[in-house]
Symmetry: C2
């Protein structure tokens, strides 16, 4: 699976052959075939492991200790860290979905919907507790997940900020997006200035 991740990340799914993957893994194509019948099955397994990991990370955060602020912080911290540390895997997981067979895509799509639901749940919990101030929960959840996921596109291990620094900064930005902390910076717009409410 590691060999397949590297090959898919480098050349894309469609340009990768099972022979490439077997060769990277130091196996014969026949030996690879014992474990995975097609390269689509390999992509599916990579995608499944990655998406199950995403759901687990967010579930643990959503059910973790503390209140909505701590839970949102934990969710973003873990999710950013995973997309930075495992950026090659995450890139394949996030960007090669269209190559999945129909029934596999359906299964993965269900896991993706679940990650959205968990994030919306954390935000809704904070709004209900009066700790977040969020005009549009769905769009805000989407934007928060985008921030985390996009890390896998640009993250460079030789860059100035490591996964932990990045995760802490992004968690702080996300608390602002959620209008956390009751501060003037976060919410409380006067009537008539609400934006983005037209649909």
């Amino acid at each position: 699976m590691r060999a397949a991740v590297e090959a898919f990340a480098e050349r894309g799914f469609h340009a990768t052959t099972t022979r490439d993957i077997a060769s990277r893994a130091g196996m014969s194509p026949a030996a690879l075939y014992i474990h995975y019948r097609t390269k689509e099955e390999l992509l599916y397994r990579i995608s499944l492991v990655g998406h199950e990991r995403s759901v687990r990370i967010l579930t643990e955060a959503a059910e973790g200790p503390g209140g909505p602020v701590e839970r949102l912080t934990a969710a973003v911290t873990s999710f950013v860290r995973w997309h930075a540390e495992r950026h090659t895997t995450a890139r394949v997981v996030q960007y090669e979905l269209s190559a999945l067979a129909e029934e596999h895509l359906a299964e993965i799509s269900a896991l993706r919907r679940r990650t959205g639901e968990i994030m919306r749940g954390i935000l809704a919990e904070g709004v209900a507790a009066g700790q977040f101030e969020i005009p549009h929960i769905r769009s805000t959840a989407r934007a928060i997940l985008s921030l985390c996921i996009d890390v896998s596109r640009w993250f460079d291990p030789s860059g100035p900020d490591g996964p932990d620094v990045l995760a802490a900064r992004y968690a702080a930005l996300v608390l602002r997006m959620a209008g956390a902390g009751g501060g003037a910076e976060a919410g409380g717009a006067p009537a008539g200035t609400v934006t983005g409410s037209s649909g």
Copy 2:
């Protein structure tokens, strides 16, 4: 170029042949060759046009009317709208960089650094004017550009929110990320209204 964008978006750069592209464009491979000697040259032209567009969008916003709040709003609004409306092109522009030849990648990388500089400039201007409150300008600029770029990955024209609604909501979220002045522009709801709709 449109045919190449479609082919690259569908199968990835490496799995696309110049024959595929010529056939989609209703041309012979020989006719395509008159305009573009290699498929890498096609990818480079697509990437160049897209990145020049990004720099232009952000430059116009940074030099536009009003103060930092209006400029940041304009930048995010236009950038999100472009990544939503032209999501197929944007996806190729943002995700196929590694297939560029070295000298082309250097040219594109310079344009990418420029987009980062322009965003950091807008944020720094707001901090200097006392209108933004930003602990880490580089990470915040990166996160803002991530939000906009990631739209091209997930945007679905059949989804509930069109480019304009999305752009307005994201602009409001970004003003919060920038700690913009007192919340009046931050897209919060007026005190006392019910918040946390499913939007």
